[in-house]
Amino acid sequence: MTDIKHGENGYGDEADAGFDETAYYPETATQLTPADRLTPRLPLPLFASGLYQWSQRLLVPDLPVRPIPTPLPIHPDLPIPPRPGPGPSPTGLETEAATDEALLPILFNREELRLDVDGRYPQMTASGTLFRRFTMRTHWIASLTRTGSNSYTGAIWFKDGDTAGFPFTNVNITVIRSLFPNQRRVTIQFAGGGATRTRTYGFVSSYFHKVEFEFDHQVGATPVLDINTTAHPNRPASLGAETLTATKVFQRAGFDVRVNGAVSAIPSDGADTNTTWSDAEMHDAMQVYWSRFADRSQWAMWVLTARQHDMGSGLGGIMFDSIGPNHRQGTALFTDSFINVAPGGDPAPDAWKRRMQFWTMIHEMGHAFNLAHSWQKNLGTPWIPLAADGEARSFMNYPVRVAGGQQAFFADFQFRFSNPEMLFMRHAPSRFVEMGNADWFDHHGFEQPDGAGELELELRIDRDKPHYDFMEPVVVELRITNRATEPRIVPESLLADAQEMLVITKRDGQAARQWRPFAHHCREPRGRVLQPGDSLTESLFVAVGEGGWHIDEPGNYTLQVALEANGQELMSNPLRIRVAPPRSFEEQHLAQDVFTEDAGRVMAFDGSMVLESGIDAWRRVMEQLPKSRAAIHAAITLATPRSRRFRTLDWKAARAGQEEAKCFRFAKVDHDGARKLLDKALGDTRLAVETLGGVDFLYYAGHYSDWLEKEGDKADARKMGDACKKAADLRAARDKPGRERRQVA
């Protein structure tokens, strides 16, 4: 059970509501220009720092509509839809500088901006991340100088990721401040590198990142989760009196902190209370007691207060989670250690101990943010060249290591991280997905995006076991479900436009490959309302795509899909499937003709009149393997062009500039041939649903029923209608257990 408590300053869901001005904003606005001082001040200082975002706009429909599954779009008029040119310009908050944007080879779908010019500990820095369909991320950081009351300029000094489409070297920033968060804007003019570009970002939060903490403890180890900053007399004279918590410390570092209130008291191991902890034991405890534990990266950490580590009383705390792919999730501190032994003669030993235990907790949490010790900054592989600062008055320095020891340290310690540490936490690139590198998938799959939960993406199939016959074209289904308690709007074509998602196929023992569809359907981005619990499902013919067949050999495969919806990155479950070996020499022989680009294209577009060799391959499948599942797909492929006035382009006429009507040739509708094939394909409902998938079955059977009705064959039309009902029931029965399992409390 999770019991999420917002930061103690009473955050609501609205990012800006109840913002703790004292936590993040400075007591004195030191960044004011003379112009500011002349302006009458509002009661609240209008700070500009925080997180901003730009993304493609979604058109919202006027009325909420219940979703109905939309079939995979089929272009009835052209055998192969032409690949469109560049898509429509992204629409954001602003008018794009279209001419300049068009010069760039890459268009970006979503951008984050972190502006850090005022508020608590301003770093006079802007940083941004540009996201493009998971496969590309670009990160930049610029140092800023103030040029006016609402303007800044600076050079980009750090770039990371796909920088080829991002030549810029400078930024000019204009800020619109407002009491109303939805009116706050930042416009950046990027310049240098032979290009310019202007983008306006909308306000998201006064913080740079969200993070969640959970504090658990071992029975017998008393956690210190807050301290009075003035309880110990050895402190800077300027240090204000307050109750300081981890939430406040990290809010001031720029984080939107949530504390998970599901506190666990971990029993000591029986009567043997002297049992010490190994790192492995703490990792196990983290899996059991941390309600947020997951084998993936997330902006969340577990903080354990325990009695003692195997290393003995000389270890005050440790970020123990440094092994394996998802490290830095767990930290611990130890009460039966030197941090609970005040130096002899200390004037306030109890306050010293509380302060040291609190300090150690924040120190270990700093390690979980990947901060090194102050004297280690130049060791290892620092993210930027850093100088070691053994005298830093930071949570990341050992008090005893500075000149004058802990006495000197705390006399001058303001309970904060250093500026380079703030810069790192606020502006360094988040771990990003490294695409095109096959190895990552072998180890831990995709990096799980942050903030998953509201929308769920599922890869599913309509069969009991994920086993496929050799040469059976693999069709899977992609389903997005609203798991929130409120309706959510998603783009209507979200699942239909495979070009907009990242689809990975991987055969065991081979490199992962990115699947791309043959065609890109360009559409107006229209919104579709998903009520709580509602889903949108689409089929995905993943067996073959641009560049060839993906599933054409016997063996085990993993399929996974990632896409972006409403600025949220969604990752499907990895779907494991098994493809059986060929049953005969005949199958093996036929496979050479089936696993060709033409045969793949013909099937992907449900038939063609022009790709002769592809058509012939499927005709031979029907003749030679009539009882195979592949024959069901072949029948659909061959039937579709027969069932309508199939239109093909006459290139000669088109090139000669003939009028449009004369450029197309129409094939005759072959009623009997089409019926024979469709009866063969859809006759056994259960089998057809299994191999085609429910979505495609309902689409084909529904269209067939309509067609029969139009042809005047009412009885057979009704029969096909009944088959649709049976298919829908089969699907519902399959979904039921899953739906219950995923029930949201």
Partner: protein
């Protein structure tokens, strides 16, 4: 019998480290690596007679060596760091602390 604790601390990266006391090897380990989150790599605890002893740290693969003399009367711990190709030894009467 007093115990001398030798802590190998910062700067070790899969190194072969030998600790010699009075020219006798008391610790010999390959793959010594600093855990930067605590600034600690490995520990050797050696029982010694009271009095002065020669302590030598040797990294045979890197050709690095450092030597010091400690008296068990005043020294119970030695911290060892590697920095910029040098081995630095810090004798102490107090245990080293990590976090």
């Amino acid at each position: 019998m007093p115990v001398l604790t030798v802590d190998l601390q910062e700067g070790f990266a899969d190194d072969h480290v030998t600790v010699l006391v009075d020219d006798r090897a008391v610790f010999d380990r390959r793959g010594v690596r600093t855990r930067y989150e605590i600034g600690f790599a490995a520990r050797a605890e050696i029982e010694l007679d009271r009095g002065a002893h020669k302590v030598c740290i040797l990294l045979p693969d890197k050709g690095e060596v450092a030597e010091t003399t400690v008296d068990t009367q005043s020294v119970s711990h030695v911290g060892v760091e590697r920095a910029e190709g040098q081995v630095i030894m810090r004798p102490s009467a107090e245990p080293f602390r990590y976090m």
